[in-house]
């Protein structure tokens, strides 16, 4: 039996462990795995922790391993009871509705459901915020993120998203993670010499595309970046590098470990969105 211990919510440590454990289970050929979370609290979990853990569990589950969550820990109990993790792996669910109205629970990304999820997000926002705010940018960004995974990641259906709302700050946190080939490897199909850092910078350039499919034109990550409000970060972690944008600034760095897949995490401050306003027409006489 292997015990996978997560005892820090520090994102660098957490993500590094996710990758260590991904390798460990692959190599050890064990039959039982227990996930335990000593000394960490539920309030310190973010969508990043949830989606990466979901991808790890999905990865492990494909080796016919019996997976248990240690419910003696608060986080283990939360994953089991509140987020209903069991329904995804023992019950075969792609999405499980939960009572907490500030969470749009894990969603397993599947090619045939990429449109459906955008609609689900729009319905969630409509039911939660009975305001006249124009929140179409949120649906837009999540749809772009889903298409990015389906078009480029080659993730073999190991991809999840999770959305959490902070009602005090009016901030939506959105995380999408896949255990696919990673942006670096995808970009190197057209720019073979690009480093992981350079690849991430290229990936967010408008019109840069690896043209995985005919409808790609390199505007997807730009659209997500555009929906992340100016006061909030968009983070992308993939292969050996990390990229962060805030407003017009872009920062990259190399990671101390390789993240085999892609994690996109961004926040949207709903205070920045105005009421929906319909214009009479838009024409292109200005061209």
């Amino acid at each position: 039996m292997a015990t996978l211990t997560f005892n820090s919510t520090n994102k660098d440590i957490w993500l590094s462990k996710i990758m260590d454990y991904k390798n460990c289970v692959h190599n050890e050929d064990c039959e039982n795995v227990v996930l335990t979370f000593p000394n960490i609290e539920v309030k310190d979990l973010s969508p990043v922790h949830i989606v990466t853990l979901a991808c790890l569990i999905e990865h492990i589950s494909r080796f016919d391993v019996n997976i248990k969550v240690d419910r003696q820990t608060a986080v283990g109990n939360y994953l089991y009871l509140t987020l209903k993790f069991k329904e995804y792996w023992a019950g075969g669910q792609d999405h499980s509705h939960i009572e907490d109205e500030n969470i749009l629970n894990l969603w397993r990304l599947k090619e045939e459901q990429k449109e459906l999820y955008g609609d689900e997000v729009a319905n969630y926002l409509k039911s939660k915020f009975k305001s006249d705010k124009d929140l179409s940018a949120v649906k837009l960004s999540i749809t772009e993120a889903f298409y990015n995974v389906c078009d480029h990641a080659n993730a073999n259906k190991n991809a999840f998203s999770f959305i959490q709302f902070d009602p005090d700050k009016q901030i939506l946190q959105i995380a999408v993670c896949d255990f696919g080939i990673g942006i670096g490897n995808s970009v190197r199909t057209v720019l073979p010499d690009a480093s992981d850092e350079e690849a991430l910078r290229k990936a967010i350039e408008p019109r840069f595309t690896v043209k995985s499919r005919m409808h790609n034109s390199g505007m997807g990550l730009d659209s997500i970046r555009g929906s992340s409000t100016e006061d909030q970060n968009m983070l992308i972690l993939s292969n050996g590098a990390f990229l962060m944008t805030k407003g017009d600034s872009v920062r990259t760095k190399n990671l101390d470990f390789e993240f085999r897949g892609t994690l996109v995490y961004y926040k949207i401050n709903l205070n920045h969105y105005d009421a929906a306003e319909t214009l009479e027409t838009l024409d292109f006489d200005y061209l």
Binding site: D134, H215, E277, T278, D283, L287
Partner: protein, 91 residues
């Protein structure tokens, strides 16, 4: 002048397919109509894969001046900003 209902096109199609359908409808009317109105009533998001296979392809095939025949109606302020931004970036 003719009007194309985008909401109808998006119904039952994924975004790239819907965009391709719109492109075909625009091209079918392009030489015979003075202007083509795209009605965005009941449409919320305009993802890039829809714009790429419709407006983007029109710009690629006929040049951005081809857009002068196009006008959007029932468009929200955020949709207008998005389309303008998209046209600026792909042109």
């Amino acid at each position: 002048m003719c009007t194309i209902n985008i909401s109808y096109i998006l119904k039952d199609s994924d975004y790239p397919t819907a965009g391709a359908k719109l492109y075909d409808m625009i091209i079918a009317k392009y030489d015979t109509e003075d202007s083509i109105t795209l009605d965005l009533i009941d449409v919320d998001a305009l993802p890039s894969m829809f714009l790429n296979t419709s407006i983007g392809k029109l710009i690629t095939d006929k040049g951005k001046m081809a857009l002068k025949k196009i006008r959007f109606t029932n468009i929200t302020k955020s949709q207008a900003a998005r389309i303008k931004d998209y046209v600026a970036k792909v042109s």
